[in-house]
Every structure is written in structure tokens, then in C-alpha cells.
Symmetry: D2
Subunit: 366 residues, 4 copies
Amino acid sequence: MSFNTFGHLFRVTTWGESHGPALGATVDGCPPGIAIDEAMIQHWLDRRKPGQSKFTTQRREPDAVQILSGVFEGRTTGTTIQLMIENTDQRSKDYSEIAQKFRPGHADITYHQKYGLRDYRGGGRSSARETAARVAAGGLARAALAALVPDLRITGYMVQMGPHGIDRGRFDWDEIERNPFWTPDPQAAEDWAAYLDGLRKSGDSVGAVIEVTARGCPPGLGAPIYAKLDTDLAAAAMSINAVKGVEIGDGMASAALTGTANADEITMGPDGPDYGSNHAGGILGGISTGQDIVMRFAVKPTSSILTPRRTITMDGEETDIVTKGRHDPCVGIRAVPVGEAMMACVILDHLLLDRGQTGGVRGAIG
Amino acid sequence: MSFNTFGHLFRVTTWGESHGPALGATVDGCPPGIAIDEAMIQHWLDRRKPGQSKFTTQRREPDAVQILSGVFEGRTTGTTIQLMIENTDQRSKDYSEIAQKFRPGHADITYHQKYGLRDYRGGGRSSARETAARVAAGGLARAALAALVPDLRITGYMVQMGPHGIDRGRFDWDEIERNPFWTPDPQAAEDWAAYLDGLRKSGDSVGAVIEVTARGCPPGLGAPIYAKLDTDLAAAAMSINAVKGVEIGDGMASAALTGTANADEITMGPDGPDYGSNHAGGILGGISTGQDIVMRFAVKPTSSILTPRRTITMDGEETDIVTKGRHDPCVGIRAVPVGEAMMACVILDHLLLDRGQTGGVRGAIG
Amino acid sequence: MSFNTFGHLFRVTTWGESHGPALGATVDGCPPGIAIDEAMIQHWLDRRKPGQSKFTTQRREPDAVQILSGVFEGRTTGTTIQLMIENTDQRSKDYSEIAQKFRPGHADITYHQKYGLRDYRGGGRSSARETAARVAAGGLARAALAALVPDLRITGYMVQMGPHGIDRGRFDWDEIERNPFWTPDPQAAEDWAAYLDGLRKSGDSVGAVIEVTARGCPPGLGAPIYAKLDTDLAAAAMSINAVKGVEIGDGMASAALTGTANADEITMGPDGPDYGSNHAGGILGGISTGQDIVMRFAVKPTSSILTPRRTITMDGEETDIVTKGRHDPCVGIRAVPVGEAMMACVILDHLLLDRGQTGGVRGAIG
Amino acid sequence: MSFNTFGHLFRVTTWGESHGPALGATVDGCPPGIAIDEAMIQHWLDRRKPGQSKFTTQRREPDAVQILSGVFEGRTTGTTIQLMIENTDQRSKDYSEIAQKFRPGHADITYHQKYGLRDYRGGGRSSARETAARVAAGGLARAALAALVPDLRITGYMVQMGPHGIDRGRFDWDEIERNPFWTPDPQAAEDWAAYLDGLRKSGDSVGAVIEVTARGCPPGLGAPIYAKLDTDLAAAAMSINAVKGVEIGDGMASAALTGTANADEITMGPDGPDYGSNHAGGILGGISTGQDIVMRFAVKPTSSILTPRRTITMDGEETDIVTKGRHDPCVGIRAVPVGEAMMACVILDHLLLDRGQTGGVRGAIG
């Protein structure tokens, strides 16, 4: 990864500020011949769009994507693809009064220290709006994956809101698209609605844990040691605004297990190796096993809350700050499509990287 | 990161297998003029060396590092530095009988599937011995950091062994070097000794959580969005063998917090901004704040245990496997110096990256 | 360099096809705090614009650049800068009849073979219009260089048109901006005008040699061995459409010299080392000496000519092709601003790379 | 390219100084399963070895290569391959008296200015000995190419020594291995022997032009715009010590041609497209056509000559310098295997890059 680009072969560079004229993703290295149009990408952006439900931010952006290059007669040409989304509903006046103050928990102070200046409107480049560009790139990656790995399904969902987890015994894949939290536990969907209502009214916020699973990923993806699949997934997730932790498989809980409990034993199935369990989260030695790839990341609560917080001004004077305007009581909800998009980009990238180095031929077993 | 290289400007490529003639680190982009010699690097390798205590693996390697290039008359020249460590105690015969089987929880099966072949001796390239090369590179990074950021202190320590954590109320920095677990809690040092003795005799293993802290890191390091400091730290940690989770600051626990509880408020101190707390782990928007950088990672239990596990052979036949020979009942212990080394390499890399893009001039406050 | 990106720290990714809605440059890693606006970049684009003189192509594009991100209140923020130029005058109908044929000397056949499809309108991505994006990026680089190295002057000029060279004895820097060929030899400007008139009428084309000089470049830029300054300049020049040769200093003629004739002897001047000659072109061992950096590149004649050429169709049938529509009888003229832009981007990139690795401190002499 | 690494997927990092203990190449991204051993690589090094004929340097180095990693049971594993060559015949005393002076035409002064120090023995890192590492990496690349593209033949040869060219009418491929200059013109071999004898006695030196041809390269290699095949070849050649110019196909002479003369017309042959000529040098739009790839580069005369030259000391005092010891009267001769090695590495790299992005499927014609 470098500054504003991620990926090795399928390389995505995002650009754009919260209150600039537009934002987007410059995608280089997409395989040629992939069928793609704006509607296919728009589909994924619409899932992320603000104003979707009463629980997410009230900013109304159509997030309409335009494909400005790299596609001809409905197919990718193999050249750079420019995806642009124009900003239409910025409401600058919400931020002007706090141009001189650093919002605690945000990147205001660090951007100022590093760069000497910052676009203070809506968080500028550090705003979560940047993730719209990732979702667009993810839509493109999904189109390529659909052609190259038709059985692959990438699904993101919330497994925890604030301190409230889900009951995996009630896990229902079909429930995910039926509730505004993208949670697979119908009971949690109910409980969280009430919980979040309370937070929205009190002006506070809460964090979340998002899990993204890739089912049907072929074995052999990942390039040890420093471009391992889990390394790139961890980086991808950690690069999302407000993320503070990343897990693969059993994650942090792996530490508490014994070797006997942790090992995923191997048997032989009709189509190849079978694993009795998946503590590893589908990745061994940094390479996919063919099992479900399971990644989780924790999103901290948004620091833009209606309670006054102590801070300083750019002149070094102590003051209070209250962030008015539009906020997400739980930014984690909108991180679900973003996590999926990152998973898609990383898996596609590794598919290309693998076939580049090895030609895609797998070592036979049996 | 790419295949076997990590870093943007301070670029480290590791090479070498567990049972090959040697292993090492090719380091490119080191600042010139840094005072360095083999003893300075050897210091850090000795902390990691196998055979150190009765709790770690019994393989006896001197891990003697040689500097083959890039240093002249005791100073780095700015050209490629080759650090080589010869393997001397491989005991090949320990592994020959399992050349045909895939050890569960190890990379054997995925390396075979991806590459079509694998060096099965001791895990080959996927072995934890690769981390000796990282520690060597980390020693070089520390020498550069000592010259560029004299107040920086990077310290790693264990905060959890299996299910047993530490009591942060008893946290003592000086305790870390006094016990074989590098834990800052003297009581935990005692408890863990007994616990691990039991595991070693039963032939089982356990995981661990390691925390690495960088005190005195200047603000402004990190290159948003995709080369954020926490992104690169997460990737660095996740690239270590057997790591399954990474956290910055409050990590996964951030999800359970409310915005009110999570925000690190800012006041003005004599030397600049002061933070009342450090939930963020020293990083905001991907850039260091000047606070302690706090990273944690979870190491899963080693899968090389003396209990028979079900697996398959390369021919697809089901069988059992018992890993004889030398093992770590808790590989996490030896990951402490590795975590420190990665932190050192990443921080140096970002110091260079920052002064490259911005010239190192900071935005003034006050 | 990778696919559509060049540069190490100052990284430029270009996008856009000749007949797409727009084209542009995504610039990452620009130093923050640089004063920049659209007019400053437009200045350089206007020098390149088609329809400028009767000798260049008659396509009328305003080439109006928009800055879509990365600049706030007139200064670069250090985040991704998106420069976009909308295409307005494509005249699609000029190309539709040759969609099935491969134009000899163009990339039509190789793009088809590599990607399986191609945007045939005006050469698609392989069109020279891509260079407008480079000139925009070069304008941004020049702004940064003006702030960081105020004495630097980058000047490009034609030294040969077809078989006709210049007389260096008549070299006048001020003549360059006074004639439509950007040549420093006023007599050549006259001779070439007549020569090119003849070619334009006959429907043929001719090549050119462009030289770009950087005066006032500080010593120490360049990162041996594989990111040498001349290595990156050669790559930058060779990446320009239709370029077939690159030279530094005496270039290919160096081969014919003896060591006695070739060596640039060194004496001591009031400000530092002085060189009696500049056969080296300002670069020794891949690093700038402080002398004028001199680079030359040869542009082959455009293959879009009005004389019928033998070729094949996509179905493999032999046929003739005549390229109607708008053409450059000498594309080399318009490569002058492009060469300058590339020189600017590479020098800025190396300035940042050098201060990243070394902090910019120079070894003292005297 | 970055500092000391070149390549995108097949990535080579060289290390080592002229008078250090060893030098080598760290190769990452080699395809797995390639049959390779030390003898196969040694073959190519022996062609480059000093002391080969009376015309090249008298330093006697066995240049014995060792494979330290990445190969198991005679096949590449897909992990990092370390190739090391120990230096045995350094004769330090030849250089000690000139440690304080900067040799004109060498990198001494620029390395000092950039890094603040330099390994002055034999040119340190800037020495041509670094090219031994490239030749080793090239030997590895050739082994992979032999498996992946069996019909590919890469051949380098001298086409000019000093001012004396060859007669292409006498071009004989088999002559190349029969004379000490690797020239395909038997008459030139005779003439040059006499010419060089004279230079060697007078203590002067001369430059050369080397041409490298790749026959049997498949179409479709190259990644426009900035990783074009010719871009990477130009960079590869320009990175070789003492190179000052690079050409593809007709090179600088392209400028003097008209479009009518320059275009390579296309007809249909039994196996696919046929080209009537090859002015393009096998590359169109940066992508290989399937024709012979033809690259030429000019090597300047060595600046280490026995005639006194004016220079300065590190203290800024004017002085004379005479380079005693061992010298190449024509370094160009030894650049032939180096040019071949770079061609091999670049072509392999692009083969992998192409199959990574496109899967290697070609657009059909006919």
C-alpha cells in the first residue's frame, strides 16, 4: 500500500474530500473483457448511501457513479478505470464554526500537525465519505470476480453493536438483507433498534463489530510472507475510518486456546481436503485453504457527538466543542458494505497475483 | 508490501528456509551515516534465540549475524545492506518421516496447493525461523531510530498467556527484562511458569497476546489513507507466523464503548497538546499523535503438538500425525522481540516517508 | 512504474481515452502547502493544445483542467489531487470505418492481442491525448518545484526535425518561445516551416528529436542502482507515445569517444565543484552533479498518414488502410511540453525521495 | 523500480560492494517448480567473468554463485531466492591512495554529496561488479523462460566499438560466440582486436554499443502506459553502469524517417500476422508484437584511464589523478552478458505481469 493506493495488481487509488466537488476511485490493473456498467456499480453504492434509514446519517447524497474511462462497449479494456461520484449535499455551514478547533477523536489535529493545513469541512479527506469510493471500486471488483470465480460469495454483517453481540445459534444468512443493521440474528435486529433509538436521542454514539465472510474462495490465494492474504485483509480493514482492531478466524480469542482445541483437522472429501473446523478463518500460512474466509473488524464509536468535549484551538487555547449537524450514532452500520468492498478488492487482487506468479495451477492432492 | 518485502522507503526483504544454509534480510533505503556493527544487531537476536530458557524451543542456534554489504567503516552507506544468519542446528531427521503429510494448522497444505511443492523440513519458508531475519532488520532500524529520534523507546511484552491475562495495576516496566516471559506483571510471571510447565509435559500448547508500545514517537507519522501508521502496523503484525488478530489502542473493545467514553479529550500542556486518555492508541486518522503508540496482537497456539491429529497425506489418504522433535509450548514468548522489530521497522519507514513528502515540518499549534 | 502509474513518492496515475468523456491525472504524494490553482496548470496545457498552429493537429480542444480534490484554499493538502480534462471535440465519425482494421505502426494490433478488445476511436488509451494528463501533472510538479528549488529551470526544445538538425552555434534560449517549433535555432525555425509545409501537403509525416534541459538542479538527486535519475528519466521519456530512443548527455555518441575525451574534469569554483565539460549530461552514477541535466529523445514519425498502407483486418484478411481525419505531420512538436512535464515530475519525485532517505543533507566538499 | 530493486512481479534486489565480502541478488516472485541449480546460473556468470581474455580486466574472480534459499530438491519453491557470490580478489591496495580524490567520470563525487560518505574501494556500490549479481539473476530468469517460453532466444552482441561499427551484411549469429567481442561480424572482430590493443597500451579507453535481441517472444507483453515493455527495457539498460543512451528498433534514427518509410506494414502469414519490416523493434504501443525485440544501448568509455585527469579532493583542493591498477579498456565488452541478463529479467517479469492481469489469453486474429 502507498499513500492513497492499495493493491498489488488490482490497484485502487481513492481521491476526494467530503466537501470537494467530487470523489472517486482510479482503478488500474483490472482484467480486460469484464462486463461492467454504471448500474452494476451503483447497486453497491445504494446499499451504502446516507439517508437510507433513520439510524444512519441524514445527509442525502445520490452517490451517482460515473465511469469516465477504461470501459468500452460494456467491457473493461484493461486500461485505467476512473469512477467518479459528485458530491451534491455538503451543507458547508455545518462545519464553518469549528474550523479553528480540533475535534477529539478525529484526524483534525494530526492532519494539521503533519501537513500544516487541513480541509476542515466535514473532515476533508479523513471523512468517511472516502469509503464511497472504495465501495465503487468494490463493485468493479465484484464484477470481475463474478466472471473469474462464479461460486464466490462475499457477505458482510454486523455481529455486535456496542456491547451487544449476536446469538450465532440464530444465524440466518437471509436475515442480513431484511433489517437495517445487516445482522444475521433477527432478535438482535429488534434489540438493536431500541438501543440505537435511545442513543440517537441522547446524542451519543456506539461502536460495532463487522464480520465479512467469503464463501467459495479457491485455495492458494495469498503471497507469503508480506503479502499474505490475511496481511492484506488486515491492512484493508484497518485502513477504514475508525477501525481499531482486526481478526481472522478466531482472532484475539485464539490466544486463549490450546493447540489441541485450535487445530483444524483435515480429512479427505469427495472434492478435495475437508476441514472439521475453521478456527483459522480460511487462511493458513497466509494462503487461503478453500474454507470460508472469515474476517472481523471493530469500529470505534464516532467522536462526533452532541455532548461537549474538551479540546484546544489551533492557537493552543483550551475550549469546548460540540459537533452539530448530521451524525451517525453508529458508523459501524455503514461500514458493512465497505468491509465487503475491501474483501472483494483484496481477493481479486490476490487472484491476479497468484495467477501471475504461479499461472494458477494448483498442487494436486490425491 | 509485496511477496517477501515490506516497507515503503526502509524496505526489508527476508529470505531463507528453516533448514536451508542460511537466512537473512536484504535492507534497502536505510539512511546513510548511521553507526552500526554486527554486535549492535546481535544484541537483539540474542534476545530471541532458541534455547534461551526451558520454556522455549530446544534448538540451539547461535543466530550469528553477518553484515555483508552496505556498511563501510562502521557507518551505513545508503546502499543495500545484507544481513545474513547461517543455520547450524537443523536436525533434519526430525522431519523426514512427515514429508508426505500435511500438519494441521500449519502452512504445509496451502504451500503445496499454491506452489505445487514445498520444503517440508521444519516448515521451510513458513517456519518461525524467518522471524530471525526480521529481528536482525529491526536491530538495524533501531540503530537508525536512535540517531534520528533519540527519545523513542520501543518495548514489547506479554499481556496474556492462554486464558491468563495480567493485572495492569501491577504493571512495572522494569519487570519485563527480569522474567522469561517478558511480562510487566511479576505475579503473572510466577503463575505462567507453573502453567506452562504443565503444558510442556502434557505436550500441548497455548496462545498468547503480545503488546508493543512506542513511547516518544513524534506526531505526524503515517500516510493516509492506505499507508496509515496503524494500517502498516496491522499488516506487520499479521504477517508474523501464527498471528490471528491485531489491535490498536482499545482494539476490539472499542466497539463496546460509547462516543462519550471513547473520545480522548485534548488540553494544552507546556510542550504542546496533551491528551487525557489514550483509547486511540496514539494514532488518529492513521497518523501518530505523539502519545504512546499501543499495538497488540494475538498468537494462536502452535499446531506442532505431541497429541495425534487427524490429517491427510499428499496422496489424499487419511492418517494421523504426531509432531515429534523440538517445539515451543508457547510460541508467543518468542514473538515479543519480533513484534518490537516490526514496530521499529514501521516507525523508521514512516519517519522517512514523512520527511520525504512533507520535509518533516510540523503544523504549529499555539 | 506500474501499469498506469509512474513515480516513487510523487506518484502520477493517468487515465482516459481519446474519445472518452474525460481524461486526467490522479496525483498522490504531492508535498502539502504548495500554492496552486487551475490557471497555473492551464498555462502549461495551453502550450500543448491542439489547434495551436497550422503545423499541429486541427482538433480543437480547450483542454480546460479542473482540480477536483487535494487542494484547499489555494494550497495542496498532501492528499490525492485529481486533475480532470473533459474531451469536447472527438469527431467520432473519423474513425468508425477503420474499427475493423489495425493501423500499421500503431498499438491497435497489440492492444487487441493483449486485451482481447480495444477502444478503436482515435487510438483509445494509446492515443497521444493521454499526454495532456501528463502535462497537467507536470504543471503541478512545477508549482512544487518553484517552492522547493526556486532556481530550477526546465526547458524543452526541438533539436532535429526529420533529418534536419540545428546549429548549436546559433543556440538562443529566448528563441524557443518565439517560433512554433520551440527550437532554439532561428534559422532552423525558418527551414523547418518550409519543410513541414511540404509534408503536410503530401500527407506524409516526419520524426523529431527533442532535448530537455534542467538548469539549477541541485546535486544528489537519484537513487542508485535501479532508481537512478537517468534510469527514471529514460523510462519517463520512453513511455511517451512514439518514442524510440533516449539519451543522456552525449548519449549514443558516448560510445565513439575515448576516455580521455569523455571525462568531465573537476576543478573548484567559488560555490563548489566546477566541471569543465558536461559529457555526462549532469548525471554521474545515476545521481545529479549540479550541472545541467540534459536528456534527449527521438519521436518516430506518426503512422497516421494519408498514403495507403498494407494491413490486415481483425478477421485476418489483408487490406489497405488510409487514415483520414486530423493528423500531426510532426507529432514531435507537441512532445516538447510533454518532455518538460516528465522532467519536472521526475525531478520533484527524486527531490522527495532524496530527502526521505537522506534528510537532504549533502556531504561537504572543502 | 525502487532504489535497489527492479521488476514488478519477478523482483530482483542486488546488494554488495566491489570490495565487500560478497555481493548477490535477492530474487522474489520467481514462479515455482522451475528446475534450477548453481551450475545453470554459473554458466552465465562464466561468460562475464573478469580475466576471460586479454582485452578485459585482469582481476581474477571465480564468481562462484551459491543458492542460499528458495530452491528445494532442484526446483524453485516460489519463495525468495538468494544468490550470493563471494569476492575473493579485491586487491584493496590499488585504491587506498585515491581515497581522498574524486575520479572524474565516476560516481565518487555524487555518492559523497548524496550520502555523506562512500566506500571508495573499487567504486564500492557503483562498481561494475554489481552487474555480476544481475547476470546471476538473469541466469535464473533464463531458466524460468526456458520452461515457459521454450522458443525464446535472447542474444546480445557488440555492434560498435568506439567509432567502429559492424557491417550488417556480414551478420552471422554463430560468429558471436567465436570471438572475444561477441560481435556477429567476423571482420569487425579482427579490426577491433588491433584497435583495442593500441588503446590498452596507450592507457586510454573507448565506448561501445551493445545490441540485444529477443527472438521468439510472444505478442502481448508489456503493460501500458508506464510499464510498457520498452519503458522497462530502457530503464533496465540505463541502469547499467556507464550507459548513456538506449534505443528500441530504429532508435534515434527513427526521427529522420518519414511515416511512409517507417511504418511496418502487416500481412497475414500461416501462423498469424506477418510484418514486412521491423523499424519498431518488436514493440508497438509498448506491447510486444511477436517480432524480434531489438534493443541497443551505448556504454561510455571507462573513466579509469592511465592519463592524468584534473580533479579535486574531498577538501576541495585541486589536484591530478591517475587511476592505476586493473582497468577495462572497453567496459562495453562485459556489458554484453549484462544486457542479455536484463532482457531476460524484464521479459520474464512481463510474462508474469501479463498472465496476472489478462490470464495470458490473446485476442484472436482471423
